[in-house]
């Protein structure tokens, strides 16, 4: 069993590497450097990638509930979620967004997007705001122990969302059936709504989730 398969957090060195790559990802976009500096960095990075591709593949915790939450029930960055491309501190693509569970099945995400998540206007790319909303609303369901798949995502963008500023995303359940759950979310900066939306999720059930996880792990083991 790999260390990630136990459901614990990724190790501190993987997290440190993710943080370092996050910084470097920002600098590649923002710095105006001579070609040879980019070249030297590229050669070093390519070497590390080659080394890692020869290592075993990470398998994924099969259970859903235990793979998402830490025992305290507060932090979300745990088990497989620490590898999420939005909230995972072990995933260099994630800003990362910090997610916490509040009362009454309300989930709050706090995130500061660097300028590299935008299009050069100083605003965050709206696609990333939509992605962050999907993550938060999925987290609401995950916290309730109901593995979800997004069915429909609707987002209204009210005003540009500034990069380099703290963004607060809040998600909650509006109406829940056995198989379908209706959710809503708001995105605020300094208390002002910059976007809001809603999503319909289909509950896939823990059995289906476990089957998908097992299939995914088998594929990785045997190619």
């Amino acid at each position: 069993m790999s260390k990630d398969e136990t459901g614990r957090r990724s190790g501190p060195y993987k997290r440190r590497l993710a943080a370092a790559l996050r910084s470097l990802n920002v600098e590649v976009v923002n710095a105006e450097a001579p070609g040879e500096v980019f070249q030297e960095a590229a050669e070093a990075i390519e070497g590390f990638t080659k080394g890692l591709t020869e290592q075993p593949r990470r398998t994924r915790r099969v259970g859903h509930r235990e793979s998402n939450r830490d025992p305290s029930g507060i932090e979300f960055d745990y088990g497989m979620m620490d590898l999420s491309p939005l909230s995972g501190s072990a995933n260099p693509l994630a800003p990362p967004m910090k997610i916490k569970n509040e009362e009454n099945n309300r989930v709050v995400g706090v995130v500061t997007f660097p300028a590299s998540y935008g299009l050069g206007s100083g605003a965050v790319h709206n696609g990333y705001l939509a992605a962050a909303m999907d993550e938060i609303l999925g987290a609401v369901l995950a916290w309730m122990g109901r593995p979800p798949m997004t069915g429909i995502l609707d987002v209204q963008f009210r005003s540009p969302c500034p990069a380099e500023k703290e963004v607060r995303i809040e998600g909650w359940v509006k109406r829940a059936g056995k198989q379908i759950v209706f959710t809503e979310a708001s995105v605020r900066v300094d208390g002002r709504i910059v976007a809001d939306g809603d999503a319909v999720f289909f509950i896939v059930g823990e059995d289906t989730y476990e089957r998908l996880s097992e299939e995914r792990n088998e594929k990785i083991r045997f190619g």
Partner: protein, 221 residues
């Protein structure tokens, strides 16, 4: 132009570094390596980030006219340097998968994108949020086929079937409606013959001067 165009040498090696980082980001997520490998890579990445931090900041370039900003050369579609640095389609942005786009006809863009292991959401599947982000990008570029620069006001994505990782996805965006300053674009995403998702977005057109000022402000910071 506001700002200076980067040299060809810098452009080529920046793109190479972005691609190298893209691949390493995927490996960090996908591999289960000994701690010392992660540590050594982290120390090197930290040193290069520090090295780049002392360099001048890049200035975003914007053409003086929209016709020059949005143009097609052969199959290549340009939108200023947006397509180089976009976090979805930018070959020079390591966050981007990256999506590639080409113009099919005056109202249609075709995009291709493949999500690596770093974009995993549900087990073995691409994160639904990134599927939505890909639609925002493709439909945003599609609406610019009208010759206007617009901002997304509304986005709707319907997920029709699971979106696989490591699989080339074909996207198509079409201008559906133009009503004054409002443009509606619709699109689809397929994995092979299977419909993965469809999307619709409404954009509000900005005057080019307003757009240019917004973007130039970033360069001045």
């Amino acid at each position: 132009m506001s700002g200076n165009r980067e040299s060809e040498d810098s452009r080529i090696h920046r793109r190479r570094l972005a691609q190298a980082l893209r691949e390493l980001c995927a490996e960090v997520v996908a591999s289960d390596a000994p701690d010392e490998m992660f540590l050594e890579a982290a120390e090197t990445a930290e040193a290069f980030a520090e090295r780049l931090r002392i360099e001048p900041r890049r200035v975003r370039t914007v053409a003086s006219s929209l016709e020059e900003e949005i143009r097609v050369e052969g199959e290549r579609y340009h939108y200023g340097d947006l397509l180089d640095f976009s976090p979805l389609a930018g070959a020079a942005n390591p966050l981007a998968p990256p999506m590639t786009v080409r113009k099919e006809d005056d109202a249609t863009l075709v995009g291709r994108v493949m999500f690596s292991a770093a974009y995993e959401g549900g087990p073995g599947l691409a994160h639904g949020g990134y599927v939505a982000a890909a639609f925002d990008e493709l439909l945003g570029l599609t609406q610019s086929l009208t010759g206007e620069a617009g901002m997304t006001a509304k986005l709707r994505v319907r997920y029709r079937s699971p979106c696989p990782l490591q699989t080339e996805l074909r996207m198509e965006g079409k201008v559906h409606e133009i009503d004054g300053r409002k443009i509606v674009a619709k699109g689809t995403m397929h994995a092979g013959d299977r419909l993965v998702a469809d999307g619709e977005a409404t954009f509000i057109v900005l005057e080019h001067e307003v757009y240019r000022k917004k973007v130039s402000r970033f360069g001045e910071k």
